[in-house]
């Protein structure tokens, strides 16, 4: 089966410059790297003063914080924390009791003037790294953060080999 596809491919490639494969490959790789880079960047922080409209802000029944800056941070932090009961939801999205309790905790810590880092540390100390959707880069989390790049390298190497092999194939049968 592979032979048939290859043969057809070679027939189509007839007359084209071999170089095109290589250029296409480079473009694809560059695109992949660029999109990965975009993904790896932290989510853009909303400008504190010009947050979303009030309707979108009311995350829970407790209403929103009076200070819009704190409210913005509250939304950002609760989106970043995993609800451990429903694991793939954040505590901002989930309505189970634990998520409500943890939102209350975040709210109180914000009002008490705690920093974002202090709040994340508080949660990590009690629930482990798993509570964060994007755990900070450390020796323990190196595998999670590094795996996409390793995969990209492996994939790139495979594509590189295939393209090189094909470019060496004679175009005429």
């Amino acid at each position: 089966m592979g032979e048939g596809i290859l043969a057809a491919y070679r027939r189509r490639a007839k007359g084209r410059r071999v170089n095109q494969h290589w250029r296409g490959f480079c473009t694809a790789l560059a695109l992949a790297v660029a999109s990965l880079g975009a993904l790896a960047q932290p989510a853009p922080q909303p400008a504190p003063q010009s947050g979303p409209p009030a309707a979108a802000r009311a995350i829970d029944a407790n209403g929103q914080l009076e200070n819009p800056v704190l409210q913005g941070r509250f939304e950002q932090i609760t989106k970043e924390l995993r609800c451990l009961v429903c694991q793939n939801e954040s505590i901002a999205d989930s309505n189970v009791d634990l998520a409500q309790d943890l939102r209350r905790q975040v709210r109180e810590m914000l009002v008490a003037g705690k920093s974002d880092d202090a709040i994340f540390q508080f949660m990590t100390d009690r629930y482990g790294e798993f509570v964060r959707f994007a755990p900070p880069l450390s020796a323990k989390t190196l595998l999670i953060w590094g795996a996409p790049f390793v995969m990209l390298l492996i994939g790139g190497a495979v594509i590189f080999r295939v393209v090189r092999q094909r470019s060496r194939m004679p175009l005429d049968e």
Binding site: L84, V85, Q87, D97, L98, D101, L102, Q105, T124, D125, R126, Y127, G128, F130
Partner: protein, 179 residues
Amino acid sequence: MWKFLLPFAAFVALVVLFAFGLSPKRDIHELPSPLIGKPAPEFALTDVTDPTRIVSNATLKGQVYVLNVWATWCVACREEQEDLLSIARQKVVPIIGLDYRDQRDKAIQWLQQLGNPYSAVAFDGDGRTAIEWGVYGAPETYLVDTHGTVIYKFISPVTQEVWEKEFLPRIAAARKAGA
């Protein structure tokens, strides 16, 4: 040779990964507790049966004890209760209850109906103490050693078998180390 061996090795690696990762024995809700090896968070809450009395784990320093998180809304806790009662009858260690996000009258009724395996039950109505312990469900059971360090956490109901296999050896070891 490589052409055959590499994909085959990748296949074997995937099979091994899935055998562990997708094993039906593995409970994805079981999370490792960062509290293990750390000092047990202190609490002083009211006794569920008597709001004028304070239940605190500070008075238990120097003893090995068990903290069992339960609630009347927790179905698995009802299941666990019978085993806890028979474990309590063995009088190995004090079992402290933490009544998590519950209603007092319901909890009292539960203890009267099903029996009370606890040496004391602390009432954590708003779940604040539970956050300190990293509780994310019920039942959860913690083992604390003579230095007040959390040495073990068990998620889901404690059965006689779990008690003998997981708790008793650790209690014995903790006593030996503490003596």
